[in-house]
Each structure stands twice: as structure tokens, then as C-alpha cells.
Amino acid sequence: MNPTETNHFSMSEVDASCRVPLLALFGGAALWLVAGLALSLAAIMTFHKPDMFADCPFLAYGRAQAAANDLLLYGFCIPAGLGVMLWIFSRLSQSELVLPLVPVVAANIWHLGVLVGTVAILIGDSTGFAWLEFPRGSSVLLFAAFLLIAVSAVATFGARRNRELYPSHWFLLAALFWFPWIYSTTNLFLITHHPVRGVAQAVIDSWFSNNLVFVWLALVGVGTAFYFLPKLAGRPLQSRYLALFAFWTLILFGAWCGVPQGAPLPAWMPAASAVASSFLIVPLIAIAVIACKTVCGANVTCKGGPFCYVKFGTAAFILSGLMLVASACPQISRATEFTWFGPAQAQLQILGFFAIVMCGAIYELLPRVMGFVLPFPKFVRLQHWLFMLGIVLWAGSLAVGGVEQGMKLNNPQTAFADSTAVALIFLRAGTTGLLLILLGSLLFAANVLAMTLKWKLALLKSLLAAVKAPLEAAPASASLRRDQEVKS
């Protein structure tokens, strides 16, 4: 496929070395994506029929929604991101994945942690902190698994023959350092026997949520996009220095966003976040310029393939970033705070941007890694339409509904019930979008799992053939001897 042989390893060897780790990560991720979206759908049903889970504590909205969010983030986003990162590092290093068994073990530990955490939330053991509801035992598993994968990734990065770094290296490496720091800090300050006292907990939780959901997903997603956009467009990335500028401004300014404007905190904290969020326009512009300049003028027809996924995802990222900037602006936050606008931005970031970029990346790399084509190639294009339409409906309706709700909330003359009533029609439209995304995710899972099965069957067949071969030779020689005996 890629013909050069001047390297230490051929590209197909590089791809093949990633096979088992990536399957371990992606298989679980695909299942968690479906489960997370299904749980999200169950949760949102509470708004359409409040009575639905009145007798079932496990699916009460507060529990189901928290579990769904965490499943999407920790169950799908992070493993998928890490898997794509491992492959990009091996490719850019032109070296086989170093320590390939470590990510396999780590993937299993990670998925176990996610399972334990989700069950804990549903039975009532959540920590109560947004985006950090997994209890302590689960956090330890996730942290350990992440570190193990990071070891393999950094080792693969270190094995590169071309010492110059490509822009994706900066973004992806930064993500490897970012997560352990924010995760360990937050767990140590909040989920211990002597947590920090009072509203400082809320500040640290907001800091963590922003740094994980916005900055970490941005680092991995943009790093991935900066790899795939030039590769699929057949043009170089435009340009290295602008990407460096985008990287620095993203991490410097992005880390300070996240504290809500109306929060019960001394004025400097919301003010710092508001200022940092306004600065965030700069990396957004830079990334948009890079993406546009790289993509425009490429004569590639997309047809619902991975290129379309990555392009749409990058556009969704810019939009979600702009929503973040808007919601931190004090005049606008008065209307959007505490409404569905916030969840809309988070869902656009997680599903519209990250999930779509990852699905595109996985569809592009998985056939190369496995060595055969996708079992259901038509699903790629179908899923593309389901996802795009679904996210426009889901995030778009929530956003508009949130603004409507906020304007009613801000007017003390209107009854509170009016604000919830006006949001309901938008929730209905959004639920339809969520259903479409769920269907798309089923197609994705079908492809990934079918590939895994096909590979495992092929492995089993070759194993059986290796065992049978000497046995088949034995009866042939035995019958030959018998003939000889009969003759004599």
C-alpha cells in the first residue's frame, strides 16, 4: 500500500504490530459507545415521560445521565483516542509499536475500571462531582491503565528515526502528560478521606472538567486531525509554525477556562475564566485557518469516507469552542447559564467533534492494521449521514432550547414551569438526533466487532491448520505401509 522500503520496518509491519493493542482498545470502546448512547437515551426519556423510572432507582435521571456521560468520555473517547495515538506514533516513528503487550493489559484494566465505575454510579455510589463520578477504586484502575499505555506510547515516540517532530506529536504528547496530572490532582483533592474544604471542591471540579472535556479532547482530536487531514487530502499541513502557535495558545489559554460566571466564588475566578475564554478565540481561528488551508484545493472526493468524518469533526470543534467562548461572556452567560446550552456544548465536543474524528480515524487505520478491508464498507457512508444529522439535531436543538429556556429563566415574571415547558419541544427533537447517533454507533460497533471476529476466526483457522498438518501426513504414511504389508 505504501511502497517505500527505505525504513527499518515496512509500513505493513508497523501496522500489524498495532493489531492486538488497538483491537483491545477499540473493541471495548465501540461497545461503551453504544452503551453510553443507549443509557443517554434512557436518561432523556425522563423528560418525555417522567413516570418511566419512578420505581427503578438504577435508571433515575441523575444516575443514568451521569453514567452515560462518563461512559462516553471514559469508555469510548479516551481509549479510542489512545489507540489512534499509538498508531499515529508508530506510523510517524516508522517503527513497530514498542512494548505491544503493555497496552493490551492496560486496555483490559481500563475497561474493567469503566465497568466498575458505571455500575457504581447506577447503584448510587457516585462521587457527586461532574465528569468524575467514578468512585476511587475505579479511578485507580483508570489511572494505572493510562500510565501503562503512556509508557508504550512514549517509548514508541522515542524510537523514531526522524528526530524532527511533526505537529501531531506536540498535541498528542501533550495529551499524554495532561491527563495524569489533572486526574491525579483532582482525585487527591476531592476523592480522599480528607478532601479540600468547601467550595474549593467546585473550583477544582470545574478546572478538571474543562481540562478533560475541552482541552484534552481538543489536544487528541486536533492532533489526530492534523495527521489525517493532510494525509487524506494529499497536501502538506499549512503550516508548521501556525500549528505551533495554535498549540501554545490552546494549552496556555484553554487551561484557564471552565469556572462558570455566576458561581459562588470570589470575583477573580469567574473573571479569569471569562478572560481566558475570550483569548480562546485565537487558537480556534488558528486551527480553522490550518484546516481550511490544508483541505481547500485538495481534489479528493469524499463520499462519506474518513476524510468527511475528520473534516466535519474539525468544524464541530471550532463550533464547540465558539460556544464555550460565548457561554463565558458575562452578558451571554446570564441567558445560557444553567440551561441546556452547556450540555449542548459538551455533547458537541464529545460526540460531534471527538467521536466523529475518532470514527473517521479508526475507519482509515483499521483496514491497514488488520490487513483486510472493512466487513461492511457501506456502513461507513451510512454512519456518516446518521452521525452528522444526529449531532446537528441533538446538539443544535439542545443549544437553541437552552437559549429559549435561559431567556425565560432570566425574566422573573415568567413562571419557572414555562422555562421547562419551552425546552421540551427542543428536547424531543434532540432525542431524535440522539437516536440517529445511537444507530450510527451500532454500525460502527458492527464493523469493529466483525473485524475482530474475522481476525480471530482467521487466527483460529491457521492454528487448527498448524495442528492438523502433521496429523494429516500420518494417516497417509500409515495407509502406504498397510498397502506395502498387504502386498508382501
Partner: protein
């Protein structure tokens, strides 16, 4: 498989993407600097400069101080009660009944309900020697417990003891306390004998 694979002209070594070396456009730096300036101005105006007590809508510690409810009569009484309980009540009792060998009662005391010029000097300068209060003899030493209180706080506590526990005397204002303080500043503790002769 995918159309993209066919049109995928390798642009770097081994088909991996590469990046151009074009420079960063100048306008993005200008936008960044402008935003930094606007942001700094906003932070200056709205942050309260890291003060832990300044919450929005207040923008500075001075403005917050300006909007503190200044005492009305009820607020002053509440303040006087608070000061009394922290400073005076330990010896004179929270109920104003005094404690034997510690402090005489204030409830029904003629020294409390008399003139405030004389009363104010007791906490300002201290008192020693034998004194008759409500027909009983008290021979103790009192330190100048009010010397470190602000005029407003001392006025509030004197008003409190003059209007509590059945005492019915007039309020004392911060200006009154200021005037008395100016007259007696630096004088030694008065003796009980001298107290009778002071103007009320």
C-alpha cells in the same frame, strides 16, 4: 477500498504527512495582542484583584465596604450585644448580673444608668478601689477593657448595657465616646473614690 487511498500521494517520507514552513500571518498576532489588552482591562475592572471577599456584582473591596449596612438602631444594638458578649460578659456576666469577686452587676447599676461621661471613663481608663454598687461593696481592679475598642463599638456596648436587663437610660453615640476619649486620653486608672466626683 477507499477513494482516498488511491489519491493519497505521499507527501513525506513513507507516505506520512508533512508540514509547510510558511510563516504565521501577522494579523493573528495583532488580534492576540488586542484581546490580551481588552482582557487585562476587563480583569482590572471586574476581578476585585484576588480579594477573597469581593464577589460579583461588587468590583472592589472599597465598593464592598461602601455597601455594608451601616447601623440603624437595631443594628447598633446587635453590634453592642456582640461586643459585650466577647469583651465584657466574661466578667460581668452575659446576663449583666456580675460575678462575685470578679465584677459588679450592671443590671440596675446606678453607675450605668447615670451620666455617660462618667460611665465611659471606666472602660477607657480602668477602675480600682472600693466602690458601692446597688448597696454592696466591690473592691476590685478593672483593666481599661474599652481602650482598644473603636468609638463605634464602645458606643454600641455602652448603649447596650444602658438599655438592657431593665436599664432604661439614653443611648451613647460614637461622637460622645470620641469626645470623652479626647478628654481622658492618657490618664491613669481612676480610683473608685474619684469616680463619685466626676461630672456625669
Amino acid at each position: 477500498m477507499n477513494d482516498e487511498a488511491k489519491s493519497n500521494c505521499p507527501t513525506g517520507t513513507g507516505g506520512e504527512p508533512s508540514a509547510t514552513q510558511s510563516t504565521v500571518p501577522m494579523w493573528i498576532f495583532i488580534v492576540t495582542l488586542l484581546l490580551l489588552f481588552v482582557g487585562a482591562v476587563y480583569f482590572d475592572h471586574h476581578s476585585g484583584w484576588f480579594n477573597a471577599k469581593v464577589y460579583s456584582p461588587y468590583v472592589s473591596a472599597e465598593q464592598l465596604e461602601l455597601y455594608q449596612p451601616k447601623s440603624g438602631a437595631a443594628a447598633a444594638a446587635a453590634q453592642g450585644k456582640k461586643v459585650y458578649e466577647t469583651v465584657c460578659g466574661i466578667c460581668h456576666g452575659v446576663d449583666g448580673m456580675g460575678k462575685p469577686n470578679q465584677a459588679p452587676p450592671l443590671a440596675g447599676s446606678e453607675w450605668v444608668t447615670g451620666g455617660f461621661h462618667r460611665l465611659a471613663q471606666i472602660p477607657l481608663n480602668g477602675l480600682n478601689g472600693s466602690l458601692q454598687v446597688e448597696g454592696k461593696d466591690w473592691n476590685l481592679n478593672m483593666a481599661p477593657m474599652g481602650a482598644n475598642l473603636s468609638d463605634a463599638d464602645l458606643a454600641a456596648v455602652l448603649t447596650y448595657i444602658r438599655t438592657s436587663w431593665g436599664n432604661k437610660a439614653g443611648a451613647v453615640s460614637a461622637d460622645d465616646v470620641k469626645a470623652v476619649r479626647a478628654v481622658v486620653a492618657g490618664h491613669p486608672a481612676i480610683s473608685a473614690a474619684q469616680l463619685k466626683d466626676l461630672p456625669e
